[in-house]
């Protein structure tokens, strides 16, 4: 059971949801060997109809307390460019494709996607270029993502507030 997990965090990203549940994209997933697609749609207005056939299943939900389980079961994660979604996925060592939402103001999320892509940790694209990327990408080229170091922050803070 090879699974694709699509997540938009706490946002609304109907364009992405429409793109991944479109017939041609589902065909691409099938041809790549995936037989399950799980959509976490957040605040979105578009709610695709879930279905389950012999060869393919589609699940849809808005939120869960934690995406840990769905991330764990996923073989590929397609996510909006939110920092939380990206970091959680990369920390679980899952292949990640980030889809940038072109409708956001200043599109600050693009910077993070670009940098992480430059460092070799993920692929990124827009809704329209997603099908092309899915068919051409090589997931084995993705590099491991080292964890952040919050202890450096606490050490710094202890010093500046005088808690040492």
């Amino acid at each position: 059971m090879k699974c694709v997990f699509v997540t938009v965090g706490t946002t609304s990203f109907d364009d992405l949801i429409a793109r991944v549940s479109a017939h041609d994209t589902l065909q691409i997933f099938k041809s790549l060997g995936y037989n399950r697609l799980v959509l976490q749609i957040g605040r979105g207005k578009l709610v695709p109809e879930p279905f389950s056939t012999e060869s393919f299943a589609l699940d849809v939900y808005r939120y869960k307390d934690s995406l840990k389980e769905d991330l764990q079961k996923a073989d590929l994660v397609i996510s909006h460019a939110g920092a939380g979604s990206c970091l959680e996925t990369l920390e679980k060592r899952k292949p990640l494709v980030v889809v940038v939402n072109e409708k956001l103001m200043n599109n600050h999320q693009l910077e993070l996607a670009k940098q992480l892509h430059k460092d070799g940790h993920l692929f990124y694209c827009t809704c329209s270029t997603l099908p092309g990327l899915l068919q051409s990408m090589d997931l084995s080229t993705l590099k491991c993502f080292p964890p952040g170091q919050p202890e450096k922050f606490s050490a710094f803070l202890d010093k500046v507030v005088g808690l040492q």
Binding site: T11, M105, L112, P150
Partner: protein, 214 residues
């Protein structure tokens, strides 16, 4: 005629005094060791809350009590905070003392700039009494619009001689090459401004760079 001149002169004097007080507050550093540090954390929507809770994970129990401020339309953050504090209480022997306060959002995502000015002013009106009531030792924030009125309120506490509050701003990891709008404003008003990518450290040499901390 004379009264107008006097009023203008008085206005200018007050403005100059406030500017001087602001300069003094921004350049003063809190001295002396302490046993505990009360914390005011500004939690914004979605990722902002997740990031700031990651920063708090490693902090010792001396950072207590913890006051969280969230936007009144943000139930997701309230939930995340309760989970976080519950987890913390489960893993330490000490009692968690924390509070969640709600204020109106400064701006919604994709809200027009003009109406943002009005909603921010309204947030200021409510932020100051809240900040004044809590009188934290430290304000910690990472960029949602909600944090600007709070930080300005904390500065006001200093300007009015009520309390010097340390303001620490951590720019989100999403900001690689350019600061957020909140970041650009608070870069000049915070005591410590932390960035997480080398490109920003180069552009803003006065910022603090500790590498990636989330």
């Amino acid at each position: 005629m004379a009264s107008v001149l006097i009023l203008v002169a008085a206005g200018a004097a007050v403005a100059a005094l406030l500017a001087l007080r602001l300069w003094v507050v921004l350049h003063s550093r809190v001295l002396g060791p302490r046993q505990s540090c009360s914390l005011l954390v500004v939690a914004g929507s979605g990722g902002h809350t997740t990031e700031i809770l990651r920063l708090l994970e490693n902090l010792s129990n001396a950072y207590s009590p913890r006051h969280y401020i969230i936007a009144d339309t943000d139930e997701m953050s309230a939930h995340k905070i309760h989970s976080f504090e519950q987890n913390r209480a489960d893993t330490t022997t000490m009692l968690s003392e924390y509070y969640i306060h709600r204020i109106p959002r400064s701006r919604e995502v994709q809200q027009s700039w003009l109406s943002t000015v009005l909603t921010t002013l309204y947030s200021m009106w409510l932020s100051f009494p809240l900040t004044h009531k809590v009188k934290p030792d430290l304000v910690l924030c990472n960029g949602p619009g909600t944090c600007v009125p709070i930080c300005i309120s904390a500065l006001l506490l200093g300007i009015l001689g009520i309390k010097k509050v340390i303001i620490v701003y951590v720019e989100s990891i999403c900001r690689v090459e350019h600061l957020s709008l909140s970041g650009k404003i608070l870069f000049h008003l915070s005591d410590y401004f932390i960035v997480q990518w080398p490109a920003l450290k180069e552009k803003y040499p006065k910022s603090v760079y500790l590498g990636r901390i989330v």
